[in-house]
Amino acid sequence: MRTLRDARVGETVKVEKVAGEGAIKRRIMDMGITKNVEIYIRKIAPLGDPVEVTVRGYELSVRKSDAEMVILKEGE
Amino acid sequence: MGTAIVVIVLVLIVSAAIRSIIKARKNGQHPACGGDCNHCGGGCH
């Protein structure tokens, strides 16, 4: 199972679903990371975490531990 | 004479300071509240 954590810089990925529950999950979804949305991985912070992505036309910073909850579609 | 005037002024200033704290409290403000509601923890209520 591939998650947003595994995605490489410069890649554009498609979301299958957001796992987990509660506040963190809701927050991730509220920020626009929902089923079928495309995410472009812009860069990784100089110290290796967090990750900056472009989603729905704006920049978002996500910690790798939170990015793990975002499950990606395979083979796209 | 001078002493009396200075003491009166001093008492006025101190009571004004105390009153402003009490007034702020009555308005629901904590003495620690500067009226800047950014990040107000609401600890004043």
């Binding site: 089923k35 912070a45 996500v62 | 200075v6 904590h30």
Partner: protein, 792 residues
Amino acid sequence: MGIRIALAGNPNCGKTTLFNALTGSNQFVGNWPGVTVEYKEGKYKGEKEVTIVDLPGIYSLSPYTLEEVVSRNYLIDERPDAIINVIDGTNLERNLYLTTQIMEVGIPVVVAINMMDVVEKNGDKINTGKLSEEIGVPVVEISALKNKGLSDIVNKAIDAAKEAKPQAPKHRFNGSVEHAFAHIEELCLHDIADENLQRWYSIKLFERDEKVQEKLGLSQEVISHIEKDIQSCEQELDDDAESIITGERYNYIGTIIGDCVKKAAVGLSSSDKIDRVLTNRWLALPIFALVMWLVYYISVTTVGTWATDWANDGVFGDGWHLFAIGSADYNDAAEEFAANQIIVDGYDVYVEENGTEPTGDFEYPVEDEETLEVTYETASLEDYEAAKAYVESNEEPDPANYGVWVPGVPVLVGNLLESLNVNEIVSGLILDGIVAGVGAVLGFVPQIFVLFIFLAFLESCGYMARVAFIMDRIFRRFGLSGKSFIPMLIGTGCGIPGIMASRTIESDRDRKMTIMTTTFIPCGAKLPFIAMVAGAIFGGASWVAPSAYFLGIFAIIVSGVMLKKTKLFAGDPAPFVMELPAYHWPTLGNVLRSMWERGWSFIKKAGTIILLSTIVVWFTTFFGFTADGFRMLAEDEIDMSILASIGKAFAWIFIPLGFGHWEATVASITGLVAKENIVGTLGIIYSASGDVYGAMNAAFTAASGFAFLAFNLLCAPCFAAMGAIKREMNSAKWFWTAIGYQCGFAWVIGLISYQVGKVFTGEGFTVGTIFGIAAICILIYGIFRKDKYKAN
């Protein structure tokens, strides 16, 4: 009848700028997610009937964050007459997500698309007429910054409020979801008072919103009934309820955007280009270091120091030269005169001590003004003759003869009191108590203002969010935020602006942790004390000063790791899913307004609480019971003061730390007023013997001396900084927790320093050493124990 209009929208959508433009009220605008937590009210310019309420910037109406709960409670419970939904035109998609939710609360909504100037500049086109048609509410283009479309949007909102007919949201969810809503409505919502709220409640119940379940007072039976409806729907759509709702909202928005927005060809915007450099893999850290160094260099070492010196030594000192003209000449002259004077005095001291005049070279003492350290220098008889001739032929330089001399507040007040012939007790209270105490605090105001200009600028231009992005990885380990770096850096200069800088941290827990640990870093006022301990007790050893900084960093890391695992900071970690707003040039007005609001609250505090506490401290320092009854004391009678009695009563606390005498206790207490007072107090107390450093050396061993140093560096900071802690914590409970923790932690570190240090300094292994080792074990346990509150 008055009309209330609420402003709602995402963080950074320009909502606060709009609020200021509409009401003329003062409020900070920052390019930082989550600048306002509580809502603010203001009257619409020129129309007293219309009240405008500024809600916090939010992304959603979920029940999970404080800002969201505040906003939705306001909308649901207070029922404003209309809502202006402010939308950032450059980011329509995410902003409309909130719009879909706001439209469900059953209040008339008008949409204001802000930042249209930027949209046009980017070459994008938004068809507002079409948008208005699709979502079913009026849509107005505005530019809050340039005052465009403001009266139009308010008039539309007033009209909508007067009509009082909320538009039914045009958006319909998937058939089976709507079916579930219908069931829920039928089951428990058909008899609620305000039928406009029916749809809102049914959606929230579908999302299993516990706050709404509680509010409606649903029985367990009803909840489990609803649960069945939800589950069958979840099964059919193969997703959980929250995901279904969120996903459908965004899908719906996707179709609207497709119809109404034409994006220009995607190229790199200037914000993207800036960001490429500022958060570049290799350049980010050096640039960050440079920015931090600049902030520190300007606000703490150069401009900040000039400003603080001017305020402390000038305005609240003897006085200052207007525009600094003549200042340098005066200093040269004064220095030369003092250097000669000291040789002449040294000669007299020699004569007094030896009964005869020196026949050859003689030694004379030189005392350092800040640390009270006494060094000896040698002068020949020729030096003495030359010095004597200089002192006799020159008068002590008068600053008033150089440039325009402006006397300081204490001098002016002193002269005034003298001319009024005021009683010496009253003038003592005013000069030594109030003017000295409040002045010491106000002396930091210029530095705070300089610092706040920088913070406001970094915040509003968008770099602060990048600071968090760059530094998050390191600080997260200690339960701190990436942005905790700034308060701690500033804290090396002065803890007060350091603590106040913590408010740029948006996560409540990270901010509280930062406030609790920032003052562990030695501030500028602690430096003379560190130098004094190093000189008097450790013979000027060079390792003492660096060890103070290492101790501070060690205390922050250990405290962070330990506190993170306690109940205080328990709970799920706040998600660090943060918007990185586009860079933009902040307006001067916004930066200055932010600086002024923050600085003013500090000044106000100095005028009230700090004023009162200085009076109390003055009283306990200068009054006491003597052989001839209760009276005012001279400066060298501090051992009879009320403060000394308090010191004697509490000295036992420090017996395990090796300095259980009242002198050290009193010094620690006066250190609470201002840390540089420790030096002054010790100077007065130990001056009786004539050799302060010698007396201190006799009173402390190496181990107890280091314990004394460690305790005073780590314990509660000065009153002004405590005031800042209280102000930023905004809760009595958290304030006392912070102060209590700092003092407790300082005590434990002092205990370890003394009891374990004793073994190494040859004082031997005692029962106390076992307690010292036990304390180390407890710290290690606190650091490495399992975090039982951690969710996974």
